[in-house]
């Protein structure tokens, strides 16, 4: 504000007005994006009667009954645990493959690097359900259908291109002379990768892992197509509250809130890394 105070009167009014518009617009955007979350949260805290009231109740007696119900809901607990397993496996697998792949693309004279680049963009752009249809019978034949491993593997179709693409851009920021200096010192490519590249791009690694985790956690189409009961994920678990003739809105919204929490916590804790990672190299020191 001190900068505004230093301006002449007319310019000061203009500057304050544009600042006011900026706040108003940002506030409207925040409200717009948070309203659905509020609505789901409010519904999850309403009793069955309040939840179905028309017009909707803005003031109500909150209850945690819906959340307590989830505690004993076997399917939801099972799908929640499945999501934890599949997300961990999917993220680990994606980094395990993407880190050396990105290094090879960036620093090694690999033939067909350009073709790999095109494939990365193409695979990322294709709708994930496209892969589910041909994989359905293959998965049943190989025994991967309705397994955690099968799901984590299938998710690589989407998260691997994104990971390789992101990590490649982080690795490109490292001075190639560092790589050469390490080679002259006697380091192998693997040692250079693990001792220099990975520690140097840790914020980028964390950002990539978080983006992958969020995508896998929220994915529905592949889970719907390639699981039946044993490996169903939390997004399917949320829909399990829809019966043949009735919808348990309270439990479903409570399940949605519970499903959001892990990724929300993950993102809050790692927010610093996400910002640092995604802006890695954007400003040179």
């Amino acid at each position: 504000m001190s900068a505004i105070a230093a301006l002449p009167r007319s310019a000061r009014i203009g500057a304050r007005l544009s600042l006011g518009w900026a706040y108003l617009f940002s506030g409207a955007m925040v409200l717009f994006s948070l309203f659905p979350v509020y609505w789901v949260l409010a519904t999850s805290l309403k009793s069955k009667r309040d939840g179905l009231a028309s017009p909707p109740l803005w003031i109500f007696d909150p209850t945690v009954a819906n959340y307590l119900k989830l505690w004993t809901h076997e399917t939801f607990r099972h799908t929640f645990l499945n999501s934890m397993i599949v997300t961990s496996a999917g993220v680990s697998l994606s980094l395990a493959i993407a880190v050396p792949a990105a290094y090879a693309i960036v620093r090694m004279k690999v033939r067909g690097r350009d073709i790999v680049g095109v494939w990365l963009i193409l695979a990322y752009m294709l709708p994930e359900f496209l892969f589910v249809l041909p994989m359905f019978s293959l998965y049943q034949w190989t025994g991967l259908y309705d397994t955690h491993a099968g799901l984590a593997l299938m998710y690589q179709v989407h998260v691997l291109p994104l990971s390789i693409w992101l990590l490649s851009s982080f690795f490109r920021e490292i001075d190639p002379a560092i790589d050469e200096a390490a080679r002259i010192e006697g380091a192998s490519h693997w040692q250079i990768l693990t001792r220099i590249y990975v520690p140097c791009t840790m914020p980028g690694m964390v950002a990539t892992a978080i983006l992958n985790a969020i995508w896998i956690w929220n994915e529905l189409a592949i889970a719907l197509g390639l699981t039946f009961s044993k490996a169903q994920t939390v997004t399917l678990g949320v829909t399990s509250f829809r019966g043949y003739a009735a919808l348990d809105w309270g439990a479903m919204t409570a399940a949605s809130i519970i499903a959001i929490i892990p990724m929300l916590l993950f993102a809050i804790v790692a927010q610093r890394h996400i910002v640092k990672g995604l802006t890695l190299g954007a400003v040179k020191g």
């Binding site: 002379a177 560092i178 080679r183 002259i184 220099i196 520690p199 140097c200």
Partner: protein
């Protein structure tokens, strides 16, 4: 220690040939400087020595052994890069000990070697710092320390002082020369700065467009340049080079007929004399265009009767009465004239 020898080496990047027929020998314990303008392939030559670039044709021998296909680590060279290339995630101590630890050297030896190098380069209070916390000079010293600690067979330097300010550059120049003398290590040093080349190298290889134009000790390059390229590149201000008739002007018959027949004549600025003295040959009048006062000496930028630019280097105390616009007589001593072939540009005997 190692002798390094290039035999008819060529290097291509796709269809572009950057080095052709390179023959160069670097003796054991010698300080060889590769110097040349940007894009002359001096860094590529160094990188081929290091094993960072493949060799397209010909042979490279290190210590008598063919080394074309040896991995960088197998050559046991150390290299100091222009950007220092310190590992940003490691402390100075870890940077120094990186190579030794990779070779599974025992901890006590590593600590001893780190202490030795630290002492030698005055890095004592920097050991726990990260590279980003170092100044340019400190980072350069750490890079030097990392190169020294393994006791390599040869040191390779790729324009290591380019990022330093002028004062620090002079200081580091001295330190690198000192270190090389102390260790008596084979050293190959790439630079585009001819002052660095002249002051540091035992021998200098001047390169242009992927070819070596002359190899020799600094005084030889300065006093007897093998061609017009070397004559123009070595020395600052650069040698006055122009067609014989344009330089000699009315000096006519007093000059050696061989020089008169030469296509191009060269004369160092310090050999252009302002005013006649006994034993000198006059080359006519020239107008002073610009004067650069360096304190102890003056650089006079002149234009002669034929419109040719001539630079003269004279002592500041001898410049009384000289000012821009003034016309002065120029002269030279015949033994200071360099003659080059009209078509090839090669030195005439």
């Amino acid at each position: 220690m190692s002798e390094i020898r290039f035999c008819d080496v060529g290097k291509r990047f796709g269809d572009v040939e950057v080095i052709r027929g390179l023959d160069l020998g670097i003796e054991e314990g010698e300080f060889m400087v590769l110097v040349g303008p940007s894009g002359c392939a001096k860094s590529t030559t160094l990188r081929m020595m290091a094993g960072l670039e493949s060799i397209s044709s010909g042979d490279l021998f290190i210590g008598g052994r063919r080394a074309n296909d040896l991995m960088p680590a197998e050559r046991n060279f150390s290299m100091v890069f222009q950007s220092y290339a310190l590992f940003p995630n490691m402390s100075v101590r870890e940077n120094l000990s990186f190579g030794l630890k990779l070779r599974r050297t025992d901890a006590a030896t590593v600590a001893g070697e780190v202490a030795r190098v630290t002492e030698m380069l005055g890095l004592g209070n920097l050991l726990d710092r990260r590279p980003r916390q170092l100044s340019g000079g400190q980072a350069q010293r750490v890079a030097l320390g990392r190169a020294m600690i393994r006791k390599p067979d040869a040191f390779l330097f790729d324009e290591p002082l380019s990022n330093l300010d002028a004062e620090l550059r002079v200081q580091m120049r001295g330190e690198i020369s000192e270190m090389q003398r102390k260790l008596a290590a084979t050293t190959v040093y790439v630079t585009h700065d001819q002052v660095e080349a002249m002051t540091m190298g035992d021998r200098i290889a001047v390169m242009d467009k992927g070819r070596i134009k002359q190899v020799g000790v600094p005084t030889e390059l300065y006093e007897r340049p093998a061609n017009t390229f070397v004559a123009g590149f070595i020395g600052s201000p650069r040698m006055n080079l122009m067609p014989a008739a344009d330089l000699l002007g009315d000096a006519g018959p007093t000059v050696d007929p061989a020089c008169r027949r030469a296509g191009t004549l060269g004369m160092r600025p310090e050999h252009v004399l302002v005013g006649h003295e006994a034993g000198t040959v006059g080359i006519g009048q020239a107008r002073v265009i610009r004067m650069e006062n360096l304190g102890h000496e003056m650089h006079l930028h002149l234009r002669n009767a034929r419109g040719r630019a001539i630079t003269a280097r004279v002592g500041s105390e001898t410049c009384g009465g000289i000012a821009p616009g003034v016309t002065v007589p120029l002269a030279f001593r015949p033994e200071h004239l360099h003659a080059f072939d009209r078509t090839t540009g090669e030195r005439l005997p």
